[in-house]
Symmetry: C2
Subunit: 192 residues, 2 copies
DNA sequence: TTAAAATAAATGAACGATCATTCTTTTTTA
DNA sequence: TAAAAAAGAATGATCGTTCATTTATTTTAA
């Protein structure tokens, strides 16, 4: 019982250490030795929890994507209008990314690395299902453009990653005003 | 004279080899030894052209960004309307990314790697100056939203990276129709 | 209830491979 | 023949991973 908790704690510590290392130095710099050191564990111990480095990173991907989705859809109410519902989700996503910069940056890095395998990506995509459902409702109601959800995502959600990047580099600080403008742009792009 | 050309050729071969390696395996997998082997050169020779690996990658970044920009603005005419001009640029960018997938994927990978230093990023940004000029004209004419160019870029250009990613993974093939839809979305997002 | 035995968890050291980089030597060029 | 260009071998460091061993926990037997 306490044993199980200890296992969970150690796993969490390993994921956290990986996240932190990836965040300053990229995935390549998160070596198993460093991860072990930060998690106060022997390198060999990592392999009791994860088959190899790739699985470690993939598990972290699912873990982070999961908490991102959880935050995004937390305040969903079924009787909201489509636009209002989308706005809530959009704002919650932005808030999560601003509050959890390490997580957000990690997810961005995952977009373009071959380290995450296709199966895991598909699994991660499932977390966003409520958004796709909302869009399909919006399309049926004639509120949202009748185009591929990939297009909708590309133009209304994906840009956040760029904005967060600019915010981190202090090139375009995301205050409340800019965020409101950004949402307006996002909505304009997908509304019919 | 012929010596100079040989130098240029070798440099080009090195950049090309790096691009190819980064493309299947990520930046980490483009080791100096592999780059040398593919370029038919000794590892030591690389250091006659580039100070270290970071400079090699940064130079490649500028090189690729340069040809991307060249392709993007090739058909610009000064008497085009703002919308028409933007459409030409947008289509040319998409065409470049579709025709040069290795280059496009490399640039995407560069967005989120610490390997590219801030100075080089700024330098690369300068290549896009004509686009920013166009936008400022559009803003003055009341055609384009009066918001930060970072926002305009995030919502009208950056999404291409996501779409190319989906196209490569065969999740959302970018035919002519989808491309036209995508441009419409891009324009809707930034138009006033 | 306690001591011994068995099992599980965790370790640090070590593996071969590969990394970026440099050194010395050889080849090419002028 | 002198100088420049390129080569291959070698450097120490670090990579992901595994191995033999120790430590901790649980089970068994008295």
């Amino acid at each position: 019982m306490a044993q199980l908790q200890k296992s969970i704690d150690k796993r969490t510590a390993l994921l956290k250490a990986t996240l932190s290392l990836v965040n300053n130095g990229g995935i390549q710099s998160a070596s198993m030795a460093k991860v072990a050191k930060i998690a106060n564990v022997s390198p060999a111990t990592i392999y009791l929890f994860f088959e190899n480095k790739q699985e470690l990173v993939n598990q972290l991907y699912l873990d982070v994507k999961g908490s991102f989705a959880e935050a995004a859809f937390r305040e969903q109410k079924s009787d909201d209008e489509v636009k209002k519902s989308f706005e809530k989700i959009w704002i919650a996503m932005a808030a999560f990314k601003l509050e959890h910069k390490e997580e957000a940056s990690f997810l961005s890095q995952c977009d373009n690395t071959p380290m995450i395998d296709e199966e895991t990506r598909q699994e991660g995509l499932k977390y966003l299902a409520p958004l796709f459902v909302l869009w399909s409702i919006g399309i049926k109601e004639g509120i949202i453009k009748d185009i591929s959800p990939y297009l909708l995502y590309a133009f209304s959600i994906y840009p956040m990653a760029f904005l967060m990047n600019m915010d981190n580099r202090a090139l375009c600080p995301l205050g409340e005003n800019v965020l409101k403008e950004a949402f307006q742009v996002a909505w304009d792009s997908i509304k019919v």
